[in-house]
Symmetry: C2
DNA sequence: GGCTTCATATGATGATCATCATGTAAGGCG
DNA sequence: CGCCTTACATGATGATCATCATATGAAGCC
């Protein structure tokens, strides 16, 4: 081992982190190898010492996105459990902050509409991530829930859908309304009490 | 007027229709001017006689998508009204068929995740389309609904989210489960009776 | 019947991009 | 001390792409 003992690994991780951010903001197509390497402080040449192809990079980056997402979920939930944890997760998910920072946000919401341009290599990681998110939500639903996995599946669809929609929409008021009303609806569906009415929107 | 009287208009419409399909399947970036024109039976040169730029094409194509979507909604709803219309719409929306034909499907679900690569010119049309979809669903909710626009907003998020998710996922069983469980949840939330149990999925 | 107009074709231009062959320098090892 | 592995750089290649300048050819008009 020349250079410092794990030089290459650290570089690889920095490239991965940058790619994970770029993919979430600009989509898989929006990332160029040269621009990516430059962001890490290197030139494009060395890229193929770390990844076999751009598709391989994307697949690896998708994986790391979901790993990061898991730790972020823990941070949002803190030491809560059960429905309280679910409520905290929903509240942290459907915020303008999360909407405005896709680069460090939920990969499910970011890759939702990129199915066409996501290379086949990255698909399994996405599936696993979706399944993990559904399972997580199911595990926090009230014990009395009849079919937790069924409900969780529906909740995940609305969560990711609302966030992605709020990003796609241009009008700020419409965007905030989409976030807030799905937040309320999701809390109600999860059997949670009416939350702090932190954003009083009225239609029309 | 040389050629037949409205030759140019018809060509323009054919280009638009092809673009609307391609954008929905491959995303805005996935459409090339040359390939698009070839699909219409022309060469790339004439393109700029019809559109000022690729972005202008995309903006126009997004508009036509939403126009088509409106007529398709009428077809799905037929002569039903009120909750029955809503149920028919939900059932027609969350099907494997709709999932597998994005090229003629709902633009909201297709463009959900393309916010980054959608040119600014096309954004207003998208907003209008989303608003229209929310309004439509609100108008069909039961009269007793407390805040129809609020509920409709949440329903649209889940509808589009579930469809987009079902497309992004690789595993067919997972995909079908996402569709079906959101279909059931949405019907219930819209105050509709338990529907025909056309697809009995069990988790695990 | 020739002129003119307009829809489309041909071909070029420059930009961007993934990929790779080869060069270089850093630094542990003999 | 010098060698040689290794991480990265330089530069080239060929592909793809949007855009546009110019050519062509059909068809209505005088």
């Amino acid at each position: 081992m020349r250079y410092s003992s794990d030089q290459k690994l650290q570089t690889r991780n920095r490239v991965l982190k940058a790619a994970a951010a770029q993919i979430r903001t600009h989509g898989p197509q929006g990332v160029g190898v040269a621009a990516l390497m430059q962001e890490v402080g290197l030139t494009h040449g060395g890229f193929y010492a770390h990844f076999a192809s751009k598709d391989a990079l994307i697949a690896a980056a998708v994986k790391t996105m979901f790993e990061d997402a898991a730790t972020q979920r823990h941070r949002a939930i803190e030491d809560r459990s059960g429905p309280a944890a679910l409520g905290a997760f929903i509240d942290s998910y459907l915020t303008a902050d999360h909407r405005d920072r896709p680069d460090r946000g939920c990969p499910v919401a970011c890759l939702l509409g990129q199915s066409a341009q996501l290379p086949a290599l990255a698909r399994p990681a996405f599936d696993t991530g979706v399944r993990g998110m559904v399972r997580l939500m199911a595990s926090y639903l009230p014990d009395a829930t009849r079919d937790p996995m069924a409900l969780a599946s529906s909740l995940v669809a609305e969560l990711a859908g609302a966030l992605a929609l709020s990003r796609a929409v241009e009008d700020e008021a419409l965007s905030l309304r989409l976030l807030e009303q799905s937040r309320l609806a999701l809390r109600a569906r999860a059997g949670l009490a009416i939350p702090n009415p932190e954003s009083p929107y009225h239609d029309h």
